[in-house]
């Protein structure tokens, strides 16, 4: 059996998730043993149009990116969204809260009207094409990436948690932020990261997006129990969970 061909593409992002793959170091050699990487701008110069698995990093912010993504989708058997920018739009979606012309001028100044800077409303990959698997996080967890890839290679559906970060936070015996009347997005955010933020004494910022069925109706009443408001909560959600 020939090895599956893998191509990695990046759109609007910081490339931090690809870096997490590179940081796998020894494991990356195992991976390269099992697949043929045929295109990966960050690590090699070759390009290819023949691949089975396409890994997409970054969000879609320009019409030409959407077109490129559609072509990739048509060529790939499996398409994986890598990292928050790709899975939920991530920090790039903050811009969707503002008028686009203002955004262009603020970021690009006098070049704002140049055609290649024609930035539009930010979309997650699955708002443009069908996505088969999502590897969440900003950045992704290297070990989770490896686990998902190995599962796909043996033909097993990868395990991706649909429970909140609190599960992993409690398993680590972390003190809950709510014990100090502080907001944490853990109860509605998707786990899989091992709750590093609450473990370090921060709130969860929700970088993996929400669980499939977050209890948003509860927010108002629950926040009141801590002398907080829904607006406090919404404000914390802008960073990663703008629509």
């Amino acid at each position: 059996m020939s090895k599956p061909r893998v191509a990695i593409f990046d759109f609007a992002c910081c490339e931090g998730c690809q870096l997490q793959i590179v940081n796998l170091e020894e494991e990356i050699l195992n991976l390269i043993d099992l697949v043929d990487v045929v295109e990966w701008r960050e690590a090699m110069s070759e390009q290819s149009h023949e691949y089975d698995i396409a890994i997409i990093e970054g969000s879609i912010t320009r019409p030409e990116d959407a077109q490129k993504l559609e072509v990739i989708r048509s060529r790939a058997k499996i398409l994986i969204a890598l990292g928050a920018c790709a899975t939920i739009g991530g920090v790039n979606k903050i811009k969707n809260n503002f008028d686009l012309n203002e955004v262009r001028e603020c970021v690009y100044g006098k070049d704002a009207q140049m055609p290649h800077l024609n930035t539009e409303v930010t979309k997650a990959v699955d708002e443009v094409v069908e996505v088969d698997f999502k590897i969440h996080g900003c950045p992704i967890e290297g070990s989770e990436f490896a686990q998902i890839i190995r599962s796909l290679l043996v033909g097993k559906t990868p395990f991706v948690p649909d429970y909140p970060v609190c599960v992993e936070c409690k398993a680590k015996e972390t003190i809950c932020r709510y014990e100090y009347n502080e907001i944490c997005l853990g109860p509605i955010s998707r786990a899989g990261c091992g709750a590093p933020c609450p473990t370090a004494g921060w709130r969860c910022f929700g970088c993996r997006g929400t669980v499939d069925d977050p209890n948003v109706e509860a927010a108002q009443e629950v926040m009141e129990k801590y002398d907080l408001t829904v607006d406090d909560l919404k404000q914390k959600m802008v960073l990663f969970n703008t629509k």
Binding site: F159, Y163, P164, P187, N215, A218, E221, K225
Partner: protein, 346 residues
């Protein structure tokens, strides 16, 4: 077996010697302004005056995640058996009672060798509660004190401990304590007073019936509005399960190695409040609604588990779920009392 008294200083020397030996010693220590069981490397760090730990000691019998076996894909499998010995210091009575219940559950029917091997390798030094936590209601659940399961029970009386050795393993440890004298009648009276005090004090939420009445009460509560009223705010975060000393559900997952030929089967804590806890083959979830899952936990504690262990109620009143629930809806006493107050009981 003996009941002796040692001064707190003498006890500390004993712990220091234990820590210096090749034994694996685990004890309660401060974690910021809370407490947690953890490996003890310094006798001074042991805090037997703690109120409650964030997680119960079940993590040493049923770890958050553990390997069950190594396997070849579509081939042979070899079980992984834990064999590490441990002295566990500072188990409160309510947690001791929870461990006793888990021991029964994991040894009945299909004997769970992983749990039972770990359990049998642990020597438990329990201790009566010195400081009551903000949500403890052990007294309502008859678990403010305990009389079995431990190898040693410590009770702080002033600047000394009454040390009650209940097993040979426990006695062997007491024999190592220099300065241990037979407890006097006065010491035993003081211990009695501690027990009486705890039976009164460890009751921050008062259950308005005897715990033994709960299975009967719940027979009439399946369609009670309380489930929906409370679960409306439920995040399905499972914190109430994770922190509970009597929650023992786990999920089994297989992981393959990079050779794609071998792998490890692991089990990790699961919880009946999580959305997909009851999802089975074909993606069918037979407890889809938050209220159904919320009700399930309180039926487990008050009716289903008691049905497997001679009527013992599977809530020991540690109060951890009350503290851990971000939505502040998980308190079993509030739920049971609401049902008591609104149900025609004849």
């Amino acid at each position: 077996m003996s009941v002796s008294t040692v001064t707190k200083e003498q006890f500390k020397s004993f712990v220091a010697a234990l820590v210096d030996s090749d034994q694996n010693v685990v004890g309660v220590q401060a974690k910021d302004d809370k407490f947690a069981f953890g490996e003890l490397t310094d006798a001074n760090a042991l805090r037997l005056d703690y109120d409650v730990t964030i997680l119960p000691p079940k993590k040493y019998m049923l770890p958050q995640r553990e390997a069950l076996m190594n396997f070849e894909v579509a081939g042979a499998a070899e079980s992984v058996q834990p064999d590490e010995k441990m002295v566990l210091l500072g188990v409160h009575p309510y947690d001791m009672i929870a461990i006793n219940q888990m021991d029964e559950l994991f040894s009945q029917g299909e004997y769970d060798t992983h749990y039972m091997n770990r359990r049998n390798n642990i020597t438990i030094i329990a201790c009566d509660v010195v400081t009551d936590s903000k949500n403890v209601f052990a007294a309502s659940m008859n678990s403010a004190t305990c009389d079995t399961g431990y190898d040693i029970l410590l009770t702080a009386i002033g600047d000394a401990y009454v040390v009650d050795a209940a097993t040979d393993k426990g006695q062997a440890l007491v024999d190592m304590m220099s300065g241990a004298n037979e407890a006097t009648d006065a010491d035993l009276k003081k211990r009695e007073a501690v027990h009486e005090k705890n039976i009164a004090a460890l009751n921050k939420h008062e259950l308005e019936c005897k715990p033994s009445f709960l299975p009967k009460l719940l027979e009439k509560a399946y369609d009670h509005p309380v489930w929906e009223e409370r679960a409306r705010l439920c995040y399905s975060c499972g914190s109430c399960n994770q922190v509970c000393p009597t929650c023992y559900c786990f999920d089994v997952q297989d992981e393959v190695n990079w050779d794609l030929k071998t792998g490890t089967r692991c089990r990790a804590w699961d919880g009946c409040l999580l959305t997909n806890f009851a999802t089975v083959a074909g993606d069918h979830n037979f407890r889809k609604k938050r209220a159904d899952r919320f009700r399930h936990r309180l039926y487990r504690k008050g009716k289903y588990v008691p049905g497997k262990i001679d009527g013992q109620i599977a809530c020991v009143g540690c109060g951890r779920c009350v503290t851990a629930c971000t939505a502040k809806i998980a308190n079993p006493v509030e739920v049971y009392n609401t049902i008591l107050e609104t149900t025609e009981l004849r």
